[in-house]
Every structure is written in structure tokens, then in C-alpha cells.
């Protein structure tokens, strides 16, 4: 049986193609679906084995980044998505997708609240960052141990949660990626290593079960080594980039 992942898009989503190519190259069928088709009832989330919310500027990121798409998903398809996640199907939100997951309440977790707000620099920023991979149950980062490098490109990536929820998330091993110094330890808020001022240098989080994952960096822009900004220094242009493993894990998990 062919497994299928839904890459959901709204007007302004713009990383759907490259994201589909990544998961698609791993033997999973990737279908890019306009959210309108879900709203019209032509397509259902339940037809898929996984969901990716890719990067971009859904609905122009008006109101707040990811807010409009997030609230539409929450209010119109909240129950369906909660069920989707409860069934253990993987959900990946990249950049704008992470913002959408937070706005629709699938991250940090059901009922709990978070926000991804304007970068401390107050502007959009595109750069590669070092990430520390934390101990977690996140199914997307299985086998990732050492630090990795991925690019970020966003204006609203400063993750905020209340004190209490942060503690709960930490205890439940929901922190997955933290912005790090080149040597590997967490950035401690220092700029530009932490590019946006996120609390606790948080770059990516998952739900308690580990099958819903949102991150600001773009793994699809680090799928092959030749996407890395310093690939010309070595001669392994052909090998995988640091983002590959995230999609590979997703594919393997779906086929489990």
C-alpha cells in the first residue's frame, strides 16, 4: 500500500514544492493540498498517513504569522486534527507551519498555549544556525545526537510560553531543538546564534507523544550537503544534509 502525506497550503504558502520533493524522494507520496479543498470537503485529513505544514506566509501572515491558517484549522478541523495526532500519525510544521501549529493549539499540546512573536531584531532574517538536539521522544529526530546546522528565515520566530508551561514542557521532554553556539551548548540568548530571542533558545518543540513536531529552521533547505553554506570546503557535495534525517525519520515512522 502506498503511504501518503498531505502537504497543506494556503495562499502565501511557498515552501510546499521543495518540502514535497524531500518526503517524496523517500518513497512516500506527497500530495500538496490547498486548505480550500479541505474546507470544501473534497479532501479529508483522515485520507493521509501524515501531515506537513510547510513554510511561507500563509494568508500574508497578517494578524500574526500563521494565525489565520492556525485558527481556521483549529476552529474548523480541530477535532479531526486532534484525532489524527491521537492516532499516532506524524505532523510536521516547518517555520510558518510551526507558527500554525502553535496558533491552532496542537503545540505545545492540547489546551496549552504558546506564541511565536516578532524577532528581537524586529526584522526578517535568513541565516544558518547551529542546533543542539535535546533528549526527547520526538519521532522526527530519532538517532540525531550531535549538533546539526539548518537555515532559518523568518521575522516572527521568538517562541514564548508561560513559566508554568515551560516547566511542564521541559519535564515532558518536549524541547527538541535549541539554538546553540558553534561548540554545541545552548546559545543562552546570544545573538545571532539565537536569531530571534526565543526563551530557552527554543527552536523546535514536540507534543508529549512526540509525533507532532514544529520547528523554525528549514530542514528541506538542508536535505543535500550542497545546500550547506560551507559545502565547498569539503568534497562531499553529494551526501545528505542535516535536514535529511528528519524526513527520513518521518518516512520510516509512517512505514513502521
Amino acid at each position: 500500500m502506498a503511504y501518503k502525506v498531505c502537504i497543506i497550503r494556503a495562499p502565501g504558502t511557498n515552501c510546499d514544492r521543495e518540502t514535497a520533493l524531500c518526503i517524496g524522494s523517500l518513497g512516500i507520496e506527497a500530495e500538496v493540498v490547498h486548505v480550500k479543498r479541505i474546507m470544501d470537503g473534497q479532501t479529508h485529513f483522515s485520507d493521509f498517513d501524515g501531515l506537513i505544514i510547510p513554510g511561507g506566509f500563509s494568508f500574508g501572515d497578517h494578524v500574526r504569522a500563521g494565525a489565520l491558517l492556525g485558527k481556521i484549522l483549529k476552529e474548523r478541523f480541530g477535532d479531526e486534527l486532534v484525532q489524527f495526532s491521537a492516532d499516532g500519525k506524524p505532523i510536521l510544521g516547518i517555520c510558518n507551519g510551526f507558527q500554525v501549529l502553535v496558533e491552532c493549539g496542537l503545540l505545545p499540546g492540547r489546551g496549552a498555549l504558546g506564541a511565536l512573536t516578532t524577532n528581537l531584531s524586529s526584522h526578517f532574517e535568513c541565516r544558518w544556525v547551529d542546533l543542539k538536539v535535546e533528549e526527547s521522544d520526538c519521532i522526527f529526530t530519532r538517532g540525531l545526537r550531535r549538533g546539526i546546522r539548518l537555515p532559518v528565515a523568518h521575522g516572527e520566530g521568538r517562541f514564548l510560553v508561560t513559566e508554568g508551561e515551560l516547566q511542564e514542557m521541559t519535564e515532558a521532554n518536549q524541547l527538541v531543538f535549541r539554538y546553540a553556539l558553534e561548540k554545541g551548548e545552548a546559545a543562552g540568548g546570544s545573538y545571532p546564534e539565537n536569531p530571534n530571542g526565543s526563551v530557552e533558545d527554543i527552536a523546535g518543540i514536540c507534543n508529549k507523544a512526540g509525533n507532532v513536531f514544529g520547528l523554525m529552521p528549514h530542514p528541506e533547505r538542508a536535505f543535500y550537503r550542497f545546500m550547506h553554506p560551507r559545502w565547498t570546503k569539503s568534497d562531499d557535495a553529494d551526501s545528505w544534509g542535516d535536514g535529511y534525517k528528519i524526513f527520513k525519520n518521518m518516512a520510516e515512522y509512517i512505514r513502521r
Binding site: 494568508f59 500574508g60 497578517h62 494578524v63 494565525a67 489565520l68 485558527k71 481556521i72 476552529e75
Partner: protein
Amino acid sequence: MKWEVRISYKKGVLDSEGESTLSGLKTLGFNNVDNVKAAKVYLIEGNLTRRDVEEMCERLLANPVSQDYSISEVK
């Protein structure tokens, strides 16, 4: 002194934030909304005259070609 500066788009200039907020609200079921306009507000404190604040608007905060600004004192 505390001043409030409000920057909005001039009539006829596209307010895409207002437009998409309107359609977002409708999608969420607020069918009685007819119109939404977005604007930006700066609250500026300091030992400043109205003339100073006007100058700030002209030199940095607003573009007179596409935006209107209004200034009011906050008591």
C-alpha cells in the same frame, strides 16, 4: 510628555492586512463584519513638543505619499 501617533494607509492605497483580516473573520463565522482597516500606533514618551513628533512622522514613521498620520497627546 506622552504622544500617540497613528499611521494608516491613505484612501486608495491597498490595506492588505485589513482585507485579509476581514476575510479571516468571515471564515471564522463572523458574518456581520463589513469592513476592517488596519493601522499602527506608536506611543512615544519624552520631553517632546508636538512639532518634534510631527517631524518624527515626516522623517521616519510615516510616508506622506501613501500614509496618513495623526498625533494626539496622551494625558
